[in-house]
């Protein structure tokens, strides 16, 4: 820097002229922004007008009243009551819950598997770390759609027909090419006491952990919380159910005719999609976890070991909590990816939102309406996930004392 003012800033025309404002940076930035905004609005307007004109030319009306019409088709899995006499709207809702199910379970299991593989990748054991490396490189470099098909073939091919189904636990679990059949719990009146027990258990665990933390901070003594928590989680709901006179019955699957009746079914389509999503996403999560752990300076590990913590405690109490700050933001985008990737379900015929949307579109002809709904729902789901992960991220930030 020198003392002489820069020529560029001093060569403005003499002030006082009415054209002054043309040279003001503020004015220019406003003008350019307004122009861009106007163009954007014009573009949107054109899209709307063009769509309307084309729809009118095809004698089609834009509207959402088709949602109340009877769908006429069945869906293979539904978490809420649904039949071919339900409405198109309900079919879309079934699709949404199926997406939520596979994405929700997928996120949980992909995270667990991803953390395990990620930590394995850093293991000092050569075989373990090479295995993790092989897993990551194999899985993340094969397109997901291919993996879905592979899993579908692998799930379906070796499984026997219904009459030769594999049975487990004394004829209560059946595995055949119709899927995995499990006993289905049926709750009678008074079952809410069981739920109340569960709620009480969760509250109890919260207090238990809080007390353990306070004791730890005050005296430095660690109180075990895992086994007591597990006990609470099992015992309290059971007590609740017992108090209500055991309103729980199980519907067992049994072979009737050429198919099973009763119980609940995990269809092969779900299993294949779920496996593919979990295994694929876990490979990315593993890399994120590895990078997160490597981001923590080795000094932290050494300091922790110097304090006498063993390897597992070092990882759990020192490294991972700090690594989480690095891990969570990219983890959030993997969760979003998994949710969006679940729309590949169509390929194997698992009735997710995209599948239901496609079928509703085809049967009702309301393409623009259906796909705007699908778009908005995926967007809302993703924004919700992102918001949750942001909240979680802010919770996990380093608390500076």
């Amino acid at each position: 820097m020198t003392d002489t003012p820069d020529k560029r800033f001093t060569s403005a025309p003499p002030s006082g002229s009415w054209t002054d404002f043309l040279y003001s940076a503020k004015f220019r930035s406003w003008v350019s922004q307004i122009v861009v905004l106007l163009l954007l609005l014009w573009g949107l307007y054109e899209i709307v007008v063009n769509t309307q004109a084309n729809l009118a030319r095809l004698n089609k009306n834009f509207g959402f009243d088709f949602l109340g019409k009877q769908s006429g088709f069945d869906l293979s899995t539904a978490l809420i009551p649904y039949s071919s006499t339900s409405t198109y709207g309900r079919a879309l809702l079934v699709g949404f819950w199926n997406t939520a199910l596979v994405a929700g379970l997928g996120i949980v299991f992909a995270t667990i598997l991803g953390f395990i593989i990620g930590v394995m990748r850093l293991s000092k054991n050569w075989i373990v770390s090479r295995f993790a490396l092989g897993y990551v490189e194999l899985v993340r470099n094969v397109p997901l759609l291919v993996q879905i098909f592979v899993w579908y073939a692998l799930v379906l091919k070796p499984l026997p027909g219904t009459k030769q189904a594999y049975t487990f636990f004394g004829d209560s679990f059946f595995l055949s090419n119709r899927g995995l059949l499990m006993p289905h719990p049926q709750f009678g009146p008074g079952a809410w006491l069981g739920l109340a027990g569960l709620a009480a258990a969760i509250t109890g665990i919260w207090f238990l952990r809080r007390r353990a933390r306070l004791v730890l901070e005050a005296t430095g003594k660690a109180t075990p919380t895992f086994w007591p928590s597990l006990a609470l989680l099992i015992v309290l709901p059971l007590l609740g159910l017992l108090a209500a006179g055991w309103p729980l019955t199980w519907s067992f699957p049994e072979l009737a005719g050429f198919n099973f009746k009763g119980g609940m079914t995990l269809v092969p389509e779900f299993i294949a999609l779920f496996l593919a999503l979990v295994i694929y996403t876990a490979s990315f999560i593993a890399e994120i976890v590895r990078s997160g752990i490597l981001a923590i300076s080795h000094g932290q590990t050494e300091a922790s070991q110097a304090l006498g913590l063993d390897n597992s405690k070092t990882l759990r109490l020192v490294v991972i909590p700090q690594a989480m700050r690095v891990i969570i933001p990219p983890l959030a985008s993997q969760y979003l990816n998994l949710t969006k990737n679940s729309s590949l379900a169509v390929a194997v015929g698992y009735p997710d939102l995209m599948y239901a949307g496609g079928t509703v579109n085809n049967q009702s002809g309301a393409a623009i309406e259906v796909f705007s709904i699908v778009l908005v729902v995926y967007l809302a789901t993703s924004l919700f996930t992102a918001a949750f992960m942001n909240w979680f991220n802010s919770r996990m930030k380093l608390v500076e004392r």
């Binding site: 054109e46 084309n54 095809l58 389509e269 599948y355 496609g358 085809n362």
Partner: protein, 345 residues
């Protein structure tokens, strides 16, 4: 600036899309030099690709007939293989000119999609196929079965209706692509495969052991299959509709691919009208029989159709005889069937 360019481009595309869509389909087709025809992704007898992107089948021949009517050349046609879900959208958006893809004529498709069905080139009905070893003799024994089918079809809807009406339960296993459906059925994912009966006979030929499967006797629905065009272009609709009628009239009048030239000399006024021949009267005057004008084509439109693909019977025999499908309901009206064309006059 980049935003501006994108927007400008987007709106220009938007406007030009409108412009092309509003021109007449016949002009579009003539300018392109070929008819773009939507067909299935492979269904023996109806539209099936074989080597070098050549297609065969009843639906394919129908498109060739349209091309012959327009250009006098049955080869001026290009095929777009479409799955059940995307077929109507492809037609609505203008990426194909005619959809000839074993599609069932229903009221909602005809009235709410902005499309029109131009006729019934094949009267079909939905049936069921089961492995012989299942030991089922009637569709009414299928209670509790898992049924494989394709999504976005009337099949899917009839299935739900049939099982509901007969108070039976079933589990649906539906895929977007026909190959997926077939694979699932062959791998035992489901007990039953359902589609239009002609489709069952066609698909079983692709199986390694066709004899291990049987088609159940019940026909559970009416499936009138026919070509579809966009609504709002009466001329193109008429061309497609009358191409179909010309095929039927030719059969009824005994005009075949082999004898069409010879038939031009026929004294039968109906044949003269069909073939658009000029009639020389004994007093030296000429009267023309130009019915092609009404649909924007030449007087020899029907001659071109028959020269290109033959009459309806020839098309049927060529494509469906291999499936051992009898004419049945698809015989001409005067032979006990349902195929009936209004007269050309």
């Amino acid at each position: 600036m980049k935003t501006f360019k994108t927007l400008a481009l987007a709106s220009v595309f938007g406007l030009s899309a409108m412009a092309t869509a509003s021109a007449s389909t016949l002009d579009d087709v003539k300018a392109k030099g070929f008819v773009q025809c939507g067909v299935s992704q492979g269904l023996i007898g109806f539209s099936n690709p074989y080597d070098q992107n050549n297609w065969t089948g009843l639906d394919v021949d129908f498109c060739k007939a349209v091309a012959a009517a327009v250009f006098g050349d049955a080869t001026k046609v290009k095929f777009s293989p479409l799955n059940a879900k995307e077929r109507f959208t492809a037609l609505q958006s203008g990426s194909i000119d005619v959809l000839s893809r074993n599609s069932t004529w229903t009221m909602s498709r005809d009235t709410t999609l902005g499309l029109s069905f131009a006729g019934v080139t094949y009267y079909d009905g939905q049936g069921f196929m089961v492995p012989t070893k299942l030991g089922v003799k009637s569709a009414l024994e299928l209670g509790g079965a898992s049924v494989c089918t394709q999504t976005g079809t009337t099949t899917e809807l009839n299935l739900a209706d049939y099982f509901k009406a007969n108070k039976m339960e079933y589990k649906i296993v539906a895929f977007e692509k026909n190959e997926e459906v077939l694979k699932a059925y062959q791998e035992g994912r489901c007990d039953v495969f359902t589609t239009d009966q002609s489709g069952l006979y066609a698909e079983v030929l692709k199986f390694p052991n066709p004899a291990d499967h049987m088609v159940l006797p019940e026909i559970i629905s009416k499936e009138p299959l026919g070509p579809v065009v966009r609504q709002g272009d009466a001329q193109w609709f008429n061309i497609v509709k009358w191409t179909y009628y010309a095929l039927l009239n030719a059969e009824e009048l005994g005009v075949t691919q082999a004898n069409v030239e010879e038939m031009k000399g026929s004294a039968n006024p109906e044949i003269q009208r069909l073939l658009g021949v000029k009639v020389k009267n004994p007093d030296g005057t000429e009267a023309d029989n130009d019915f092609g004008k009404g649909i924007g084509l030449g007087a020899d439109w029907a001659v071109n159709i028959v020269k290109g693909v033959g009459n309806y019977s020839e098309v049927f025999e060529r494509n469906l005889a291999q499936l051992k499908i009898a004419r049945g309901k698809n015989a001409l009206w005067n032979q006990g069937g349902l195929q009936y064309a209004p007269p050309i006059r």
